[in-house]
Subunit: 188 residues, 2 copies
DNA sequence: CAGAATATGTAGCGATTGCTACAATGTCTG
DNA sequence: CAGACATTGTAGCAATCGCTACATATTCTG
């Protein structure tokens, strides 16, 4: 019998759990469907994580880690030459259909963070911190204020994403056109 | 017996339901607690709204209406003199403790909109449309592009609020400082 | 090999979920 | 007043919830 024991643990479970959560949401997920997606039982999920709250917290931390490594792997080959170009590249990437499940989950994390559900805020904070650091590396080389500029672009980016989610892409686009151009300090 | 019949209906129920939802969330709300908060029974909620999905949709529409009239009543006495002042005023208002329950609910609505839950997107869209129109009336009198400026400020505002929710107020503040000042087209 | 510790299956508990069947009140219209 | 219709209470159903008790298997340790 060459079949070795599956030997489940938190670490082997979390990726499958994360995959399920990305497709079906986090708040509405219950133990039995989660367990089935991970090839185990609710009984074992409680055994490994203690309770559901801890499972969700661990899961959020894991997802934040996934996001972090995804950003590390997404360094652009060539830097943009203006803040506007930088903004548009990143926005395009965030709106890519491949990113959609993650974006849907992201807003759930934001909502959980606002409501103070344990684990949500820490995960959201970590992801934003990571994104900010990443964005700093993507700023135009000749930008006079890369740190401030990255924070500025990030604020605009998050606002644009939110408006997009509620069907106001046009509003954000017009806003970007009216404001970002005027503030693009990048020397041309 | 002078006590007249309460005569419940959708219209008399919705305000009490909205109050409960503002304090306890929308997604996690179940019929029996909602009914108790409204002084009735789950049986009657189903009777009046047909099913829970319709109840939530009606409730969201009602809450959007509340938001709309609140904005109508919140016209500033005097117009700001710069985009930055305009932005800061509105942000301060949005961060007022009184607004907190509404903001918490707002992110839940955004998350529901992203996930495509019926009714959420319509309500979110309506509230953003209303806020945009209101913001246009609050722009500095001498702004060269009130329409575009309002959309620009709104994008920045929503980004700032989101970053604040996840513990990145400092990031948004630095971004505003670095970007909004440079793009303030208002003649001084 | 014996016993301890770890890992897993089976079965179920009490609570809550949205919703319904049925009956009993009203209240309004003819 | 009679009957139609609108409103409401009581009771409960099938499903699902997080979680646990108990027994069994497996693996590690002495």
């Amino acid at each position: 019998m060459p079949s070795s024991k599956p030997q489940m643990s938190k670490e082997t479970l979390l990726p499958k759990l994360a995959a399920h959560v990305l497709n079906h949401g986090l708040g509405g997920a219950s133990l039995r469907p989660l367990a089935e997606a991970a090839g185990t039982s609710d009984r074992m999920l409680i055994y490994h994580f203690g309770n559901k709250e801890q499972l969700v917290a661990d899961l959020l931390e894991h997802i934040a880690g996934i996001y972090s490594t995804a950003l590390d792997a997404a360094l652009a080959a060539e830097r943009p030459t203006s803040r506007k170009e930088c903004f548009e590249r990143i926005l395009e990437q965030g709106q890519h259909p491949m990113m959609q499940p993650f974006m849907v989950l992201w807003w759930e994390i934001v909502a959980g963070s606002a409501r103070g559900i344990p684990g949500y805020r820490e995960a959201a904070d970590a992801m934003m911190t990571k994104q900010l650091a990443w964005l700093e590396t993507q700023m135009p080389e000749n930008d006079p204020d890369p740190a401030g500029g990255a924070r500025y672009l990030m604020t605009l980016l998050e606002g644009t994403l939110m408006l997009g989610v509620v069907g106001h892409t046009h509003t954000a686009n017009a806003g970007i056109e009216a404001g970002l151009l005027a503030s693009d300090l990048t020397p041309s």
